[in-house]
């Protein structure tokens, strides 16, 4: 590394992703040309990934409050009260760009980052999920991305020791050039022992803890704020490398340190590493920060200030500690063999001062770095009305069922989840493959349910209804598992916000999500925005992933998905046979036509409450939410879960394809003893929810009206689908 720093000018600023007006803003702010390190710091703080400059004004419209919310967006993760003095701490975050460039490490460090967000707040991670979107199965890159991403997630989470209990995997050609890796983590903490990032006290030591700093990830956040083109391979060095063993030690050391009372404030070093974490702590605490880079533990030789400030080396924490607890803190670091160093102190002025060697490398107004970051109200246009739904071709119901159950988007995800340790910690009550996963609150009889949902086809056709639907489906998955929905985290993945039609998708989805979160009382407590998911000008489908958490006051309220032999099947909710944007049209005929199904949020709330009430009264034995593939797929999935056949009657007036595969919302299929039907009907009438008996459980076939398929055949198709697309059978 030469000691000579490049000259700072507009062109260098452009290389850092700063637009001319943004560079001018820096010049005006400082009244001078920034140093090379300062330019790097600005680019790190003002890129889209860190500053949310395109999304902020819309994110502000989302509901974030509620009696259950202890801490909403703005900290490392959201905190929600679960009673008995405990809280669940959770967030979802994307690692899309790095995962496309280097799938194993990109996905692994995505998991590492989200786990750190959770334990930085003082919570022990108890569950992880991930929502993955890949290109078409036949696209030449897809298999290697799936294989690398899945093993990266497993490699990190399994070693760290958190059960990965759920998520989503989807395939669509719109992700050919940009896969999505959205990692979710939840942790458990004492409600009065939550740790925040705001520094307090002047002259307090700023302590660096964890892995050494290397050159990996320099400029990563800036990379994640740009579109891809043919030079993408050159970006591989900007992807960080994960070390889950260090993360595990960091977790244990941080929790011990917090219990010792030594921690005043703490912030993990994620995107833009040392820069972002130090500024965040100072900004939130209304203090300045002085850093001495000579003290930073480095992995590589001759690192300069610019590199140290922008490094995204993983498994690092910055904290402000109580000086009188220094000996105790040191003993904990030594126990876990972790590097630590006092790298600076808090100061009583609005200043971010960075020294290296004998030189001052950066001397900036600290508040301005985050507070005055640019904020845009980008032009957007309302998404055009969706195309008309064309003719429905004739198709045998049995053939449709077989094709759907084996399709890449509906086949069993066992290939994926078996690579994740989903039972470590010995509290996993409902494992992957159900509507929502359930993890016991350790040492109690309570449970937390987790799900992640979105239907990007719907969001593209109708962003507002699609946004609502993502929340509604999460609400249903939690309810179908017996959990009361508590709160939500959103991971908003979109294309280039500088294009009005993309911005229109974003605005529409946010509107729908906001309406649904209000109506269903699932406030957004944390989240992440990933924009510029485009390659050569082609954007992904709008994909606002909703991660949601529900509470079970007692684990005896868990509703299984597998029905019992001899049960009858009862459909809750109204069926009109909506085939627009359905899985039937897309998976079988490759047609993305028509409008997304409308979402009636009042109907959703009532139906979900009814299902939970049924369970509380001991009326039902199983439940499943209706989503992609409608009634036919839900019935088949319940049969597969139980290993018992089911029979569902046809409908008197609806066409068979619409009845069995329509995707009307606010519906559940429940199984119950026949004797329960009268009481259920009475309750449904009282709450004005439609309910009808549609079939029964038994035999060895899945019967849909006149059609039937042997359960064994369906099972082979369902279980074999994923291996087949990975070329393993």
């Amino acid at each position: 590394m030469s000691a000579k720093e490049p000259e700072v000018n507009q062109s260098l600023a452009a290389d850092h992703g700063l637009k001319p007006d943004e560079y001018q803003r820096i010049l005006d702010l400082l009244g001078r040309t920034p140093s090379f390190t300062e330019l790097g710091i600005f680019s790190a703080m003002w890129n889209e990934h860190c500053s949310y400059k395109s999304s902020k004004i819309h994110l502000r419209t989302l509901p974030t409050d509620g009696p259950q919310v202890i801490c909403g967006p703005g900290e490392n993760a959201g905190v929600v009260d679960i009673g008995d003095g405990q809280a669940v701490v959770f967030k979802m975050e994307s690692h899309n760009h790095p995962s496309y460039i280097e799938p194993y490490q990109g996905a692994a460090t995505g998991v590492g980052g989200i786990l750190r967000d959770v334990f930085t707040m003082g919570a022990r991670p108890i569950a992880a999920m991930n929502a993955l979107s890949f290109g078409a199965p036949e696209h030449p890159k897809t298999r290697s991305l799936v294989s690398g991403v899945v093993s990266g997630i497993g490699g990190y989470g399994n070693c760290f020791g958190v059960p990965t209990v759920g998520g989503e995997v989807r395939f669509h050609p719109a992700y050919n050039g940009n896969c999505l890796v959205n990692a979710f983590a939840a942790g458990l903490a004492e409600a009065d022992q939550i740790f925040y990032s705001a520094a307090s006290g002047v002259g307090m030591p700023v302590v660096y803890l964890g892995a050494k700093t290397g050159r990996d990830g320099v400029g990563g956040a800036t990379m994640a704020s740009a579109e891809f083109d043919e030079t993408i391979e050159e970006k591989r060095p900007t992807v960080q490398v994960g070390d889950p063993f260090t993360e595990k030690r960091l977790l244990e050391a941080c929790l011990e340190l917090m219990a010792s009372g030594a921690v005043i404030s703490i912030q993990d070093m994620g995107a833009a590493g040392l820069t972002c974490s130090a500024v965040e702590m100072g900004d939130k605490g209304d203090l300045g920060v002085e850093l001495d880079l000579d003290a930073v533990p480095c992995r590589e030789e001759a690192m300069n200030a610019y590199e140290m400030m922008l490094s995204e080396s993983q498994e690092r924490m910055l904290m402000v500690l109580r000086p009188e607890k220094e000996a105790e803190a040191k003993a904990i670091f030594d126990k876990w063999d972790l590097d630590f160093a006092i790298v600076g102190k808090t100061i009583d002025e609005d200043r971010f001062l960075v020294r290296h060697g004998a030189e001052i490398k950066a001397d900036l107004p600290l508040k301005a770095l985050s507070g005055t970051a640019p904020e845009y109200d980008r032009p957007w246009e309302v998404t055009a009305a969706p195309s008309h739904l064309g003719d429905v071709p004739d198709l045998d119901i049995a053939e449709a069922l077989k094709a759907l159950i084996a399709s890449p988007n509906l086949c069993s995800r066992r290939w994926v989840w078996e690579q994740y340790d989903n039972t470590v910690m010995a509290d996993t009550v409902v494992r992957p493959g159900s509507d929502a996963a359930v993890v016991r609150v350790h040492g109690t009889e309570k449970g937390l349910a987790f799900t992640s949902d979105v239907t990007p086809r719907y969001c593209k056709a109708n962003p507002v209804e699609g946004g609502k639907q993502a929340v509604a489906e999460a609400y249903r998955n939690l309810s179908a598992t017996g959990a009361k929905p508590l709160a939500t985290t959103d991971n908003l993945n979109f294309g280039n916000p500088e294009k009005p039609e993309i911005m229109g998708q974003f605005v529409g989805c946010i509107q729908g999500i906001g309406e649904a979160c209000r109506a269903l009382d699932m406030p957004i407590v944390s989240g992440n925005v990933s924009l510029y998911n485009e390659t050569d000008g082609r954007a992904i489908l709008p994909t606002p992933t909703i991660g949601a958490v529900g509470l079970l006051e007692h684990l005896d309220q868990v509703i299984p998905m597998a029905p019992k032999r001899g049960d009858i099947l009862v459909l809750i909710g109204q069926t009109k046979g909506h085939l627009g944007q359905s899985a039937l049209f897309w998976e079988i005929w490759g047609r993305d036509e028509g409008d997304a199904p409308p979402v009636d949020l009042r109907a959703e709330a009532k139906a979900g409450q009814l299902v939970r009430d049924f369970k509380a009264k001991g009326l039902i034995s199983a439940a499943h939410d209706l989503s992609d593939g409608g009634l036919g797929i839900a019935a088949a999935e319940m049969a597969l879960a139980a290993g018992i056949g089911v029979a569902v009657d046809g409908h008197a007036s609806l066409a068979p394809l619409a009845w069995f595969f329509g995707e009307d919302q606010a519906r559940y299929l429940v199984a119950c003893p026949e004797a329960a039907l009268a009481a259920m009907t009475e309750a449904a009438v009282a709450t004005q929810v439609s309910l009808r008996r549609v079939g029964h459980v038994g035999g060895t076939e899945v019967v849909l009206g006149e059609a039937s398929v042997a359960l064994a055949t369906l099972s082979d198709l369902h279980e074999g689908g994923f291996g087949a697309l990975m070329g393993e059978s």
Binding site: S151, G154, G155, N158, C159, F160, G161, D243, P244, F245, T246, K248, R249, E252, K335, W336, D337, W417, E418, Q419, Y420, D421, N422, T423, V424, M425, A426, D427, T428, V429, R440, E445, L555
Partner: protein, 230 residues
């Protein structure tokens, strides 16, 4: 029954093991840090839990086997103490030489987490006596390196001495269902004195009806009964 769980920095099933031992024994299992050089006095059982003792990026359990506490565990075993190694604990036991053979990467090259079925091949051990007449049990595996291998001579000794404790099988007990390619479907083996058991599956993860199964529990009950009759 006085028990202890060894804790390496990368152990992640230590709490699960502690809970299972504590529930069975009715008295808390001790946690022993790997840097300690002595085990607590008067122990009956030492358990080495699952996890990634030192990250295990190269040879699983190799560094753990050289932790200070392991010398004490070896002495404990030599005195006839009961030692249980599960998953990474099994790997550590082979690395210390307390059990023969090695655990290689799964034949499928992927991490595998699923419930497997095991045939209880012998009830003549302090770990399996409560399994009655043997039969088939269901417990989870979760590992990347569980592919047991040893040389032919050792394999015939293990079989001849009735030291194969568990083999993978199908739900009906017939051959098959091997998740990792282990030689002779071996899921767990006993030491020569039958007082050390190493196994890849996790009995501590299915010892609670709330979690969907209790087939792991008799293993801990076997230990308790052994202590009661000793």
């Amino acid at each position: 029954m006085k028990s202890a769980v060894i804790v390496f920095p990368g152990s992640n099933c230590d709490r699960d093991m502690e809970v299972a031992l504590t529930q069975t024994a009715g008295q808390p299992a001790a946690r022993v840090w790997h840097k300690d050089s002595e085990l607590p006095q008067g122990l009956d059982v030492v358990a080495i839990p699952g996890g990634f003792s030192f990250g295990d990026y190269l040879r699983c359990g190799a560094i753990g086997a050289r932790s200070p506490i392991m010398q004490s565990v070896v002495r404990f075993a030599e005195r006839g103490g009961l030692v249980l190694g599960v998953c990474n604990g099994f790997q550590v036991l082979t690395e210390t030489g307390l059990l023969p053979g090695a655990l290689m990467m799964n034949a499928g090259l992927k991490f595998v987490c699923r419930d497997v079925h095991l045939r209880v091949e012998t009830t003549e051990s302090p770990f399996t006596s409560a399994y009655g007449n043997g039969g088939v049990i269901r417990v989870p595996v979760a590992h990347h390196e569980g592919n047991y291998i040893t040389d032919e001579a050792m394999l015939s000794r293990l079989k001849g001495d009735d030291r194969v404790a568990f083999t993978y099988c199908r739900p009906d007990g017939t051959d098959g269902g091997n998740p990792n390619g282990a030689m002779a479907d071996i899921a767990g083996i006993l030491s020569e004195n039958r007082r050390i058991l190493g196994m890849m599956p996790h009995p501590e993860r299915l010892s609670d009806p709330t979690l969907g199964g209790t087939d792991g529990r008799p293993l801990f009950q076997s230990l308790l009964e052994t202590m009661a009759t000793a």
